[in-house]
Symmetry: C2
Subunit: 295 residues, 2 copies
């Protein structure tokens, strides 16, 4: 695990440098919007989604450097969704990754616009991949990403999550929320790396199954961490799901059973990579990390 | 003018039918977000941006039908920007196109998400144009649109508009706001139609000059209408710019001078089309409409 963590850190640092390069500087006019975008983007995220896209490219023999703008775009999308989720009209959160949320620092108007701007810049970065890669792959990725984060994906999950009160959420609804709110972006992150690298259908399917199970394991672990983690390690207020009457896996199934579900999904993720060799070693190791992490 | 208005109506109706086809139905789960998207999208907009894109395609000998998803995407973007602009944290408007604004009907959370969803769906529609058209043109359009509506375009204009109070707005700032908030989307609408239709550089430049001047004429006229129009015709509260201490052309230059500026821009727009023949007749007639309209 120590080796993996070091490797993960190295890869995240590569993403960090690319983001630094690809996002407008703080002093570009109008400065406040760029400061807000960077404030949330460089708040210590784990960069899991870009790292997943890059690792998927690697697993199918692609060139990670060529897909870097797309990998960064996935992190921009993740950050936009967090900023908008945290807004007073949504989850009304004050703390994110140990820092005051965007709207607490910049006000609601700029927070909304910073989210909009990150989402918009993400699509510009996808399109820019067309400079180094076949444009057909790029348009396919853009269509898939837009679907994954639209009303049949991330936004759909957020709508159901925001509008449901916990007592009406059954297993099916909880599963819907998680599959859409978190799962869809995980899934399309892996697919983005694979599509841009020209993966064949067999490898696409295997990587997709991997991503779906990884996303599930990630989300269940997130729910458990929210219940038991402490605010300092997690960087957000713990128990906030329960406070906000959010449905969670431990609340619905009990903690032991939730843990078991996470382990099952993790095993299925690893199994999906059976046809791959050493080129998928990082993706395999990532599964263990996702269910064992403490933040 | 009567003939032109009939023609404009016919073209807008074609866009209307395409939007109807391309946007998820109201009963698609989760229903509320689709109802909110459609509520604002089908609230009687003039469909100027899609009509511009289609007319630009026509002017360079392209196939308007092939670029229809992109034309509709431009209207989705325009609608998203209106929904977010109207939010309590921004302009706090109650009325838009004669109907209560999105957040007044669906609440702030759904209004924010409906805007996000329209923006996201727009990029899916652009990407879909790759089915019928060369993917290289599509990635170029996506990159240009994202720039036009990002922090160097529409969002930048909105940031400066939201954060400036009228007494600190000089001519340069007002010009910045209008060029970015309205002008950039007009400009890229025309360019979208031309790029997707494979226009050469000369025609691209001419159409771009046309669009920039048309956008300016449109915005000045909008400012004048906001001051003198009546609420019923306009469908939004008039004088709201002055109430919100927004900078406007008539406030800064006086009404007569503002009118003169609109006429100058209109003349420059028509002049930019000098190299075109009958294939640009509609674009020419549109200029007159933009400065003579009463809503």
């Amino acid at each position: 695990m120590q080796d993996f963590l070091r490797e993960l850190k190295t890869r995240a640092a590569t993403v960090e440098r690319a983001l630094e390069r690809l996002v407008p500087r703080e002093d570009a006019y109008p400065s406040v919007i760029h400061r807000a975008m960077r404030y949330s983007l460089f708040a210590g995220g784990k960069r899991l989604r870009p790292v997943l896209a890059l690792a998927a490219a690697e697993a199918v023999g692609g060139d990670p450097e060529a897909i870097m703008p797309a990998a960064c775009a996935l992190e921009l999308i993740h950050t936009y969704s967090l900023i908008h989720d945290d807004l007073p009209a949504m989850d009304d959160d004050d703390l994110r990754r140990g820092k005051p949320t965007s709207h607490r620092v910049f006000g609601e108007a700029v927070a909304i616009l910073a989210g909009d701007a990150l989402l918009t810049l993400a699509f510009e970065l996808f399109a820019r991949c067309g400079d180094a890669l076949p444009a057909e792959r790029v348009t396919r990725v853009i269509a898939e990403v837009a679907q994954a984060i639209g009303t049949a994906g991330l936004i759909g999950g957020q709508v159901v999550d925001t509008l449901s009160s916990s007592d009406e959420i059954d297993e099916k609804t909880l599963e819907y929320i998680h599959r859409h709110k978190t799962g869809a972006l995980f899934r399309v992150s892996v697919r983005t790396g694979a599509i841009l690298s020209g993966a064949d259908d067999g490898r696409m399917d295997a990587l997709t199954a991997y991503a779906e199970n990884l996303g599930l394991a990630f989300q269940i672990t997130d729910d458990i961490l929210d219940e038991e983690g402490d605010t300092n390690t997690l960087g957000k207020n713990t128990g906030s799901d329960r406070k906000n009457k959010k449905a969670t896996y431990p609340a619905l199934f009990g903690r032991g059973c939730a843990r078991e579900k996470a382990r099952c999904a993790a095993a299925a993720a690893v199994e999906a990579l059976d046809a791959f060799g050493g080129e998928a070693a990082f993706l395999r190791a990532l599964v263990e990390f996702v269910i064992q992490r403490d933040h």
